[in-house]
């Protein structure tokens, strides 16, 4: 029996011929199959890694887009309170310094052709484009809230009762891991950008010298700024608005230089209240003025206000004086008492020659107590020191300094242009008088704060 079983198992019959080969092939195929499965799995893992890198690259591109649009919103703050579909309207672009709608800018283009390349060292590493921006101040994205914001108090933009501003912008940006014209991974991010009142705006602006130049068409280019020491404040240069480029202001001898898109405050207007003396006209030759004495013209004393027409108090704590024509001061001083607020309006040019003091009799008083508004140019020439404690405001004229001698200004100088060739030390020490803050159109644009609620969304 045992022999029979062995015979059955081991004897090779005709029908079993080639049995080894099929078995080897079968086992080999199984091995290949298992290896192929392993390979496919590894390949998928590799593809997943590549895909993950593609998604991460697209996410990084979208985050770059968010950073760049935050920069755009900061440079053009008018955009923060308008929905994307109004960004190309003239009243919006007219208040922006970047090219929002033009071919070169196209920041508002959220169409399929609106992708903007990200280029690093000459290589395009990805692209991004805006998908939407919605301004909201009532927690209702369906309502149109364009430009509906109180720029004075955060509490006035509060809807949940916590006293904080609830105004916000919802910015949605798409990122792509390839160039604008190619197909690749796309990631979409939405962030919520809180908006609030800019309480520090006018403090930070802090202009000691403010120049507009060029009929408001370009950032001023000042050939002769000269050696000027500006302390505790900025040199502010006008930044034109409307379809241009937000560019750096020129470096002016290392002084703090910033740009601002708001125009200079307008010239003072003489109030004309009924029943009061309309204005105080001074003789263009101040030596003939009855208040001129020993080289000084004393303005704004309370006794003068009460007893003479000169220096009339018009009801708002200021004393207005008007010079018709040019005012020339040559070794002569104009002094105020440091208590009354004196506003002098010169319709023509103001020329200061040789040693002149335009100041007040109180050392503690700031330039708040003396403003000189000039319709024409301001010229400082000759020899000798010039001391000014006050505001010189010549929005349409040029400040020209020549000759020699020191010029010490405690206050500010605002003008259309600046030309300084004077030999001597010129110092502008700003004080705390923010004249520009009480004039129209000084309202600061809202600030944008740290984005929150980052959401990765499906890009349809």
């Amino acid at each position: 029996m045992k022999f029979l079983i062995l015979k059955t198992l081991l004897l090779r019959k005709r029908k079993d011929e080639g049995f080894t080969l099929p078995i080897v092939i079968a086992i080999g195929l199984v091995m290949v199959l298992l290896s192929a499965v392993n390979l496919v799995q590894s390949g998928e893992e590799n593809l997943n890694a590549l895909s993950q890198q593609g998604s991460s690259d697209a996410l990084a591109a979208a985050e770059i887009g968010i950073a760049r649009y935050r920069n755009l919103l900061n440079n053009n703050r008018v955009l923060t309170v308008y929905n994307l579909d109004t960004w190309t309207n003239a009243w919006v672009t007219g208040q922006a310094c970047d090219s929002i709608s033009s071919t070169g800018g196209g920041w508002a283009d959220n169409s399929a052709t609106g992708w903007r390349n990200i280029t690093v060292a000459g290589n395009t590493i990805g692209s991004y484009r805006i998908d939407d921006y919605i301004y909201d101040n009532d927690d209702n994205l369906g309502s149109n809230n364009n430009n509906d914001i109180d720029l004075v108090s955060d509490a006035n933009n509060d809807i949940d009762g916590d006293g904080e501003s609830d105004a916000r912008g919802l910015l949605t940006v798409r990122g792509k891991d390839v160039a604008a014209t190619e197909d690749g991974s796309i990631t979409q991010i939405q962030v919520e950008i809180p908006l609030g009142v800019n309480t520090q705006d006018l403090v930070d602006l802090n202009p000691a010298i403010w120049i507009v130049q060029n009929d408001h068409t370009a950032v001023p280019s000042i050939t002769n700024f000269g050696t000027v020491d500006v302390n505790g404040a900025n040199v502010v240069l006008y930044q034109p608005s409307g379809e241009g480029d937000c560019i750096d202001p020129p470096d002016l001898g290392g002084e703090n230089t910033i740009s601002d898109s708001r125009n200079l405050p307008p010239l003072a207007t003489i109030p004309n209240p009924t029943g009061l003396t309309k204005k105080n006209t001074l003789n263009s030759n101040i030596t003939l003025d009855p208040h001129y004495n020993s080289g000084e013209l004393l303005l704004g004393t309370l006794s003068d206000v009460q007893n003479t027409s000169e220096g009339s108090h018009v009801g708002d704590d200021r004393y207005y004086f008007e010079y018709t024509g040019d005012l020339n001061l040559d070794n002569e001083d104009i002094i105020t008492d440091g208590t009354a607020r004196v506003i002098i309006y010169v319709s023509g040019n103001l020329t200061i020659s040789n040693a002149v003091n335009i100041t007040n009799s109180s050392n503690a008083a700031t330039s708040r107590f003396l403003e000189i508004h000039v319709g024409g140019n301001v010229t400082i020439n000759g020899s000798g020191n010039v001391n000014i404690k006050g505001l010189i405001h010549a929005p349409g004229g040029t400040v020209t300094m020549s000759g020699n001698g020191n010029v010490n200004v405690t206050g500010s100088i605002f003008a259309n242009d600046w030309n300084n060739t004077r030999t001597g030390t010129i110092i502008v020490n700003a004080d705390d008088y923010t004249f520009y803050s009480i004039t129209p159109n000084r309202t600061p644009a809202p600030l944008t704060f740290r984005p929150s609620g980052w959401q990765t969304q499906e890009a349809d």
Partner: protein, 193 residues
């Protein structure tokens, strides 16, 4: 027993199968060898893919960690400088005596100062990690933002990250596993006029 088996085989198959088994086995061996070679190659290839994928995933993870740290630093950065002075870009944040650093440069300076693993230079910033016996090096390089893209006070910081491993193909250059570029604005920079 064995003798019996050999006897049986020799007697029964003598007329039909003499010499065929040897050829068949030889062919089978060759085929098996072929299959084995293909399978092993496939396994090696699969292993290469797997290791590569793991390195890429780890590289991606390393870069993401750096980006998150950079974003976090950008949110919490406080120069403590007078805002009016800071806003004109005249900050000497790198101590180099040049007053034109701005917020982007300030963020970079903070970054290379904060990271304890770093042998920092003025423009690069690197650290290493090991995965599957290979040392991965992540390096961040400050990228100059084009003029006009970030006007004064230079708010945007651009950083290009690169993860590499030591030279594998013998060309003397480290192998690049992943690249990524990011831009960050310090939140404090947006408080300027």
């Amino acid at each position: 027993m064995l003798k019996t088996i050999i006897t049986l085989k020799n007697t029964k198959n003598k007329s039909f199968d003499r010499g065929f088994i040897t050829i068949e086995i030889l062919i089978a061996i060759f085929i098996a060898f072929g299959f084995l070679a293909v399978s092993l190659q496939t396994l090696v290839l699969a292993m290469v893919f797997q290791v590569g994928a793991q390195k890429e995933q780890r590289a991606d993870q390393l870069i993401q960690e750096e980006i998150e740290a950079l974003n976090d630093l950008g949110s919490t950065l406080n120069f403590g400088a007078n805002t009016a002075d800071a806003c004109d870009g005249n900050l000497d944040l790198d101590g180099g005596g040049t007053n034109n650093d701005g917020y982007g440069q300030g963020l970079w300076n903070e970054l290379i100062e904060d990271d304890p693993l770093i042998a920092a230079t003025s423009t690069t910033n690197s650290s290493t990690t090991t995965i599957l016996g290979r040392t991965l090096t992540i390096e961040g390089t400050q990228v100059a933002i084009p003029a006009g893209a970030s006007p004064t006070p230079h708010r945007i910081l651009g950083v290009s990250y690169q993860v590499t491993e030591p030279d594998v193909d013998g060309d003397g250059n480290a192998e690049v596993i992943a690249n990524r570029y990011v831009e960050v604005i310090p939140d404090e920079a947006l408080e300027c006029p």
